[in-house]
């Protein structure tokens, strides 16, 4: 039992829990969607005074920020209380492909080539994270949702816009991985 908890959790178990999170929020009268919090944060920072898109009653979205706070705490708990060795169990083919791009054998959850303290404050490392974040925040709002709002909630509700968005997510991800990555790394 302890090994089951401390080791990596299987995909089917994860999928069951994630859909449960969506249903729990529906029964609380809310919708599962994480990226709208970034809009709320702009609004709290006062963006509504200058830009109409952020001029809405952000207090109605506080529940979602609390949900995010819980997600941060959940990450902390997973790391400090529910893991022994957290080296990702990815495919040997992925490891081989990434080695060609200069990434070493994984030693934890994230690659040190991108997320070590030295790398996030190198110019290239910083720009990669900043640009990646910018694309995620811009694209999610342009498309009206992210993985939670479109891929999980939207497709569960059989919404065509969500299906188009998810196809877009994959077109963008495949171009980045297979065309742009070999130029960057």
């Amino acid at each position: 039992m302890l090994d089951f908890i401390l080791g990596p959790w299987s995909w089917w178990f994860s999928g069951i829990i994630i859909s449960s999170v969506m249903f729990i929020l529906l029964f609380f009268g809310k919708a599962f969607g994480v990226s709208s919090n970034l809009r709320t944060m702009c609004s709290i920072a006062g963006a509504g005074k200058r830009v109409p898109f952020f001029d809405f009653d952000w207090k109605s979205q506080v529940w979602n920020l609390v949900f995010l706070g819980g997600a941060i705490i959940g990450g902390f708990i997973a790391k400090h209380f529910l893991s022994n060795d957290d080296t990702v169990q990815i495919s040997v083919n992925t490891i081989a492909d990434l080695k060609k791009l200069g990434f070493q054998q994984p030693t934890g959850m994230q690659p040190m080539e991108l997320f070590s303290f030295e790398n996030i404050f190198s110019l290239k490392g910083f720009l990669i994270l900043a640009l990646g974040g910018f694309f995620v925040g811009f694209g999610a709002r342009y498309a009206g949702g992210c993985t939670s709002g479109h891929a999980i909630s939207g497709i569960s509700n059989l919404q065509l816009p969500s299906l188009i968005s998810v196809v877009g997510f994959f077109i963008g991800g495949l171009i980045m991985t297979h065309v742009i990555f070999p130029l960057l790394f």
Binding site: W11, W12, S14, G15, I17, I18, S19, I24, F27, F28, G29, S35, R39, M41, C42, A47, V51, F53, V66, F67, G70, A71, I72, G75, F76, K79, I90, N93, T94, D97, M109, Q110, L114, N119, I120, L129, G133, F134, F135, V136, F138, G139, R141, Y142, A143, G144, C146, T147, I152, N157, Q159, P161, S162, V167, F169, G172, G173, I175, M176, T177
Partner: protein, 137 residues
């Protein structure tokens, strides 16, 4: 007190995303290289159960804890916003290895780099708000 249920639901989400490695940059790379079922299994299982559950909710006209009917607001009509927005999101997802949920879970996990990603994610959202009327939707 009315918010504590959202805090606990968020914790459940954060724990399962971390423990199933869905917050890992490596797992997103593996997904975009079609080298494992892992991420497809997570999203696929969640979507299959989601479709089934939403169907049952609608069929039985189920209500939330406040007695209001459960309705999922349909997305706005449009085509190009979903194509272009989706592709731009995909660029960022592959590059940073994080969609918005995992950004925050990773901060709790102890990776400070995700504070940079989150900050510029907010800047990206702000930029969209400023130029949205000039973009095709």
């Amino acid at each position: 007190m009315k918010f504590i249920k959202f805090l606990i639901t968020g914790m459940l989400f954060g724990i399962v995303m971390a423990k199933s490695e869905a917050i890992s940059w490596y797992r997103i790379q593996e997904m975009f290289r079609f080298q494992s079922i892992h991420m497809y299994g997570i999203i696929g299982t969640a979507v299959m159960l989601g479709v089934l559950g939403v169907f049952i909710i609608k069929r039985l006209n189920m209500k939330d804890i406040f007695g209001n009917p459960i309705v999922i607001a349909p997305k706005e009509k449009g085509f190009w916003r979903y194509v272009f927005g989706g592709i731009i999101f995909g660029f960022g997802w592959a590059l940073s290895g994080a969609c918005p949920g995992p950004m925050f879970v990773n901060i709790g996990y102890g990776f400070g780099g995700f504070i940079i990603i989150m900050f510029f994610g907010t800047v990206g959202t702000y930029t969209y708000g400023v130029i949205k009327d000039k973009l095709p939707h």
